[in-house]
């Protein structure tokens, strides 16, 4: 190697070192997306806390229970509202493919806040 080649090696090494020591500051100004998918979980369990035995045959003045769980993976705290609707087979049902809810009015609603990952 001649002197010019050595100079190039010195310059490249110096620039790489400068970039390395400037990384913490560059990181403050440039944000990198983690690429994680953002989503919310919703699960409904039957009276035994299992996926099954859902109360489909409802009668008046009899208590029936289902358990609803919500998980937040949206990358930040989120505000959720769960609307409770009761319908028979002839009433308006939700359109799951078009994401249109049932036209029935909710019997009750639950609002709550969940931290990310909760």
């Amino acid at each position: 190697m001649n002197l010019e080649d050595y100079r190039t090696v010195f310059a490249a090494t110096g620039l790489a070192l400068m970039l390395a020591v400037a990384t913490p500051v560059i990181g403050l100004f440039v944000s990198f997306e983690d690429g994680a998918e953002r989503f919310s979980e919703l699960w409904i369990l039957g009276p035994e806390h299992l996926v099954g035995d859902y109360p489909f045959d409802i009668t008046a003045n009899v208590s029936h229970s289902v358990f609803v769980g919500v998980g937040n993976h949206m990358g930040g705290s989120s505000y959720y509202t769960v609307l409770v609707k009761l319908r028979n087979q002839t009433q308006s049902s939700p359109n799951t493919t078009a994401s249109i809810p049932s036209l029935l009015l909710p019997l009750s609603e639950f609002r709550f806040f969940i931290a990310d990952g909760g």
């Binding site: 002197l3 050595y6 010195f10 110096g14 070192l17 400068m18 500051v25 930040g76 639950f110 709550f112």
Partner: protein, 168 residues
Amino acid sequence: MYCRRSRLIFVIVLVLSLRSFGILVFAEAGDDAASVLLDTEEKVVSAYLEIVHAESTGGNVSGLLVRLNEAEDLLTQARVVYKLGDFEESARLAVLCSAVSSEVTQEATNLRLEMFRVRTVNLWLSLTLSLVSIAVVGLGCFWGWRVFKRRFYKRVLKMKPEVAVDES
């Protein structure tokens, strides 16, 4: 006869007036409670937005979310009681919820400002350290290059010229 009819009309009018007055008072109380509920809902949403801002600056908001959920529970109770017609209790619960929401908003604002201050200090510290480090690396490279160049020349000067024999 005339006196009895007048008395009857007076009683009917009185009953109707009292009833209307009662309905008016009831409706007014209901309107007030509904208005308080709406205000409280806005306060809860404001508190949530402030928490989101605080979280975006890197603050730990899990404690604030727990308290805001408590406020939301109070609001839910207030809504239920309102539907049952107990406007006074509904307003009381809504005011409690409003107080908790205001506290949460204030604490979230303080957290956001604190995190902003910490971030600013960190930014300046990192910036200063990085600039000093870049300068040290630059000067080190420059000094290293000069030393290397000097040694390189010395080594080249110490080399003996190779004598080649021209056989042509």
